[in-house]
């Protein structure tokens, strides 16, 4: 989650500006299932990669579950959606036609185009900076924002704890072998153990934070969240990409409003 060692241009932009730009793109893409708007946005997003310090390799490493999910979603849509046009493939109950292939392709591209900006945002934004911006610029309550930030740090610890509890329980004779029911029971027990530890950790962390004066109404900020000229470009970029996607789809006659 840390950005240690990344110096890409977009890491210097205000997280809130990046957040708004990503939101605009996502919103537009959520409105239509068609391959033109999705691929327009996708191309523009690929062009932004170097600015966020992202490479195709890094993208695959961080986002492969999302990418696979988009591909899978596209494939099943192509097979299962209502057929129209020429039939391309027909295997028993599965069939794929030109029309359903187009819908499936649109679905996959749209999934990718929606996932990519989120990955872009995460790879060039430090969570602490995002919290600063949300509290100082978006004026969200600082108790909520900082509490969430501190809790997120515990999530990483929980992953380690999960592994330890798994081993500790195997050492008590609770194995992950056996029937699906036994496995389910073992997993539930392990989850309960983790929950107990998470609650304890969280309450100790809460005491630590309270003892450091957290929770008062007034607070100063050591890291001031500021806007710069770069943020205007970021916002503009978000508007251009989302507007470009809509216009291209309307011009190509593929705009397909989902609601």
């Amino acid at each position: 989650m840390s950005l240690h060692g990344t110096h890409a241009l977009l890491t210097r932009a205000n997280p809130l500006a990046k957040f708004v730009a990503v939101f605009a793109i996502t919103l537009v893409l959520a409105l239509s299932i068609d391959w033109v708007s999705a691929s327009t946005a996708l191309l523009a997003e690929f062009a932004l990669f170097p600015l966020a310090g992202l490479t195709l390799r890094l993208l695959w490493q961080r986002g492969w579950p999302l990418i696979l999910a988009a591909a899978l979603g596209g494939w099943s849509t192509a097979i299962l959606s209502a057929d129209s046009g020429k039939t391309l493939l027909d295997v028993g109950i599965w069939s794929m036609s030109e029309g359903s292939l187009e819908t499936g392709l649109g679905f996959m591209l749209r999934g990718l185009a929606i996932a990519l900006p989120a990955i872009l945002l995460m790879s060039c934004t430090d969570p602490t900076d995002l919290a600063d911006a949300l509290a100082q610029k978006a004026k969200l309550p600082h108790r909520f924002v900082l509490g969430t930030l501190a809790a997120m740090r515990l999530v990483g610890l929980m992953a380690e704890e999960w592994q330890t509890i798994g081993m500790a329980r195997r050492a008590r004779g609770v194995g992950s072998h056996g029937s699906p029911l036994q496995r389910l029971r073992a997993t539930l027990g392990q989850s309960f153990g983790l929950l107990v530890q998470a609650v304890r950790r969280a309450s100790r962390l809460a005491v630590t934070m309270e003892a450091r004066g957290f929770g008062g109404s007034e607070r100063s900020w050591a890291r001031e969240s500021t806007y710069s000229l770069l943020d205007v470009w970021v916002l503009l970029g978000g508007v251009v990409i989302s507007a470009g996607a809509v216009l291209a789809a309307i011009a190509g006659g593929t705009w397909n409003f989902v609601f």
Partner: protein, 509 residues
């Protein structure tokens, strides 16, 4: 303009007939406490568990729940004549678990957190942050250093820096070094000493290991569980006087009085038995092979080239600095982690028809052969009642229930059979976790830091009990920093240095 560097006004504490009952409890945690601490005084609080030491520190830090949730406060407890809760930042509290003393993910941000909450102007905050980081000896790290990459001792010093940046007049330490290895203990103690010398702040510290803090404090207060007939403060005075007066009583209460090693049972048998388990050319890691897209990347071993032999009736002690992979090695030996390279193989007598690779054993096959006691007892609790906890192994194995009574008796748990394991005290939890693992009658017992944070009584019981087990033919493998403990067990020491190869010969004493 940054403010003057030493703008700390030491705080005075006064308690008059103070008592506190936690919500949902029928008895008071502290009853009728009368205590006055002058500004700049340094006080070590001692006493048996249940004497209300932590409750007092939490109250002084202003973090005890409000009275509205059914808790009950009597008398008065004041800092500089005012209620602690009304003076945020006047007192700073450090607790035991280093992981929860860190709030934010970058070092500088974490130190600044308290000062921000007190609405200190941003310009002053960074001056305070630099000074505090310097004072606790973390100046070598950049401000954006990830806090997750710090050791336990460094995390506690970071917490101290965060407290110092608030410029508190009262520093409260609740067993600050109980979770640290010996090097970490001294790191933290020395940093506290330096900072007190510089700021002159008042100190109240709770800690079982008296020798660590004795020379740094100028007063020891011994608390006892309060009742209507006896005062909460049992003894109060200069360290040497109190330790002399109360030596016997403190030792009996499990306090680690300087120069006192509790009596333990001596080992009688030293004959080496059968070879139960051996490791050869072992590389270990807690991480599993990772998937990066389509590729599988084996983890970087924490330690490699390890070898060891585990022999019946013989103790193997694994020592070395933090981060040397001691626990990881022990867990791999115990069949809980897969080796990155090399092998762990069980002898015929131990395997008993289950194959030679402990990691491949089913959980039920494992527990009757190798028992592992984890550092944190709570990780191993699987039921909601002490008796069920002990019967769990035998019930699954279908034998061994008769041993449970003996273990209950031997580890003084008989009066707790109906209690919920999570509600026990630290020492009781430790004894229970050892008993539950032994209930399955394993031939090899692996313990990860069994004496960490334990009082002298639990320590002595544990050491004596293990020496008995060894004489009865169980092999005991323990990861420990505790030299007195390994001296009681005898046997072989395997010292791991940071990521260097090590090998030990079987039976070499």
């Amino acid at each position: 303009m940054p403010e003057a560097p030493t703008a700390v006004r030491p705080a005075a504490v006064s308690a008059q007939g103070w008592g506190w009952r936690h919500a949902g409890r029928s008895t008071q945690a502290v009853h009728g406490l009368d205590l006055a601490i002058r500004p700049g005084e340094r006080v070590l609080l001692l006493g048996p568990s249940g004497a209300g030491k932590s409750t007092l520190l939490h109250a002084l830090a202003g973090v005890l729940g409000d009275e509205d949730d059914d808790a009950d406060e009597t008398g008065s407890l004041l800092i500089d004549g005012a209620a602690p809760r009304a003076q945020r930042g006047r007192a700073g509290l450090m607790q035991q678990d280093p992981e929860t003393q860190v709030v934010l993910s970058r070092l500088g941000d974490d130190v600044a957190f308290g000062a921000e909450n007190l609405a200190v102007p941003p310009g002053d905050i960074w001056a305070r942050v630099h000074e505090a980081i310097d004072d606790v000896g973390l100046a070598g790290f950049p401000l954006d250093h990830p806090t997750s990459a710090l050791s336990g001792g460094q995390k506690q010093r970071l917490a101290l820096a965060g407290i110092l940046a608030m410029r508190p007049g009262l520093i409260l330490l609740d067993e600050p070094t109980a979770n640290l290895d010996p090097a970490g203990v001294l790191e933290v103690r020395d940093a506290v000493g330096r900072c007190l010398d510089k700021t002159g702040a008042t100190l109240v510290v709770v800690e079982h290991r008296v020798s660590v803090w004795k020379d740094l404090v100028d007063r020891i207060v011994v608390l006892q569980p309060g009742s209507s007939s006896e005062p909460a403060v049992l003894l109060d005075g200069p360290p040497d006087t109190v330790l002399e007066q109360a030596r016997g009583m403190l030792a009996a209460a499990g306090v680690w009085v300087p120069g006192y090693v509790p009596a333990t049972r001596a080992r009688v048998g030293t004959a080496s038995g059968e070879l139960l388990l051996s490791a050869a050319d072992l590389a270990v890691s807690r991480e599993r092979p990772r998937r990066r897209g389509f590729k599988t990347i084996p983890p970087v071993p924490a330690q490699s080239g390890l070898g060891a032999d585990v022999v019946a009736g013989h103790a193997l002690t694994i020592t070395g600095p933090n981060g040397a992979g001691k626990s990881t090695f022990a867990l791999t030996l115990a069949g809980l982690l897969a080796p990155v390279a090399g092998t762990v193989s069980a002898g015929v007598g131990l395997a008993d028809g289950a194959g030679s690779d402990p990691y491949a054993w089913k959980a039920q096959q494992l527990i009757s052969r190798i028992g592992t006691v984890f550092q944190e007892p709570e990780h191993q609790f699987v039921t909601g009642r002490v008796l069920d906890e002990l019967m769990f192994g035998p019930r699954h194995l279908g034998h061994g229930e008769e041993r449970v009574d003996e273990l209950l008796e031997r580890l003084r748990l008989t009066h707790l059979v109906d209690a919920n394991p999570y509600t026990l005290s630290g020492g009781e939890k430790r004894r229970l976790s050892v008993a539950t693992v032994l209930a399955a009658s394993p031939k090899v017992l692996v313990l990860d830091e069994p004496t960490f944070g334990q009082d002298a009584n639990t320590w002595a019981e544990l050491a004596s009990f293990l020496s008995e087990l060894l004489d009865a033919g169980t092999a005991v493998v323990s990861v420990t920093h505790d030299q007195e403990f390994s001296a009681v067990l005898g046997g072989t020491e395997l010292r791991l240095d940071s990521a260097a190869a090590a090998y030990t010969e079987a039976g070499a004493a």
